[in-house]
Symmetry: C2
Subunit: 112 residues, 2 copies
DNA sequence: CCCATGTGCAACCTCCAGATTGCATATTGG
DNA sequence: CCAATATGCAATCTGGAGGTTGCACATGGG
């Protein structure tokens, strides 16, 4: 496993954030994470948008590698794929940590 | 410090992701995290967009609570505020962890 | 005191994300 | 076999995000 260059990692995280930035999509992810794999029809219930809209949103999430689908009869089942989610979380931690360390250095410097 | 209700926490994270979803803004955050506090003019260099565009992006980042500004003479200095960044990262971890645990339960259930 | 530098404001433009509607196509249960 | 259910495909619409331009307004250095 290569260490994955920082820029690529950041860009990957950005695509994840772009996908999660939408309210409907964030809701879908939350539902999937707690409710388990579900069909499009199921995911459409308790939503104020059309099934078509949900389908598009799921496609976007899939594009960011956050979900994957499989067929079960006439249904299309969607489920979460936590890999990218975890990675994006770690990337955020890194950025904020780097900033905090820079702050510390600055503080010490000022004290001298 | 109240534990902050889950929905509010998620919504806050979503607004952070929405801000970080843009390529230019993600770039600004990366620059600020490693390069320290900088003026608008500085942040505009090495960018293919106008200073006005950068200003708007900074305003969006500020709206999500990711950066804060202060004046220094005729300059306006922007710096990172890692609080929301860290929180958003933890939120992602929680979601993916919840999903992973659900997966484990499902696996054990199937084995029985 | 003046000019170069750093910003703020506001009008304006363009494009595409997010949504809808209408119709075609699979599957399944009884 | 047939009607109900679940989804796919495509055309179309629209508001707002992201960008620019032009000009006014501070501030600091020489």
């Amino acid at each position: 496993m290569s260490p994955s260059a920082a820029p690529a990692r950041i860009e990957r995280a950005r695509s994840v954030f772009s996908a999660l930035g939408d309210e409907t999509r964030m809701g879908l992810v939350a539902r999937l994470s707690s409710g388990g794999p579900q069909s499009i029809a199921q995911l459409t219930t308790r939503t104020d948008v059309t099934r078509q809209a949900i389908t598009k949103h799921l496609d976007v999430l899939a594009g960011a590698g956050l979900v994957k689908d499989s067929r079960r009869g006439r249904e299309r089942i969607w489920e979460l794929d936590s890999t990218r989610l975890t990675e994006a979380g770690r990337t955020l931690d890194q950025i904020s940590r780097r900033w905090d360390e820079a702050l510390d250095r600055l503080r010490k410097f000022v004290e001298d």
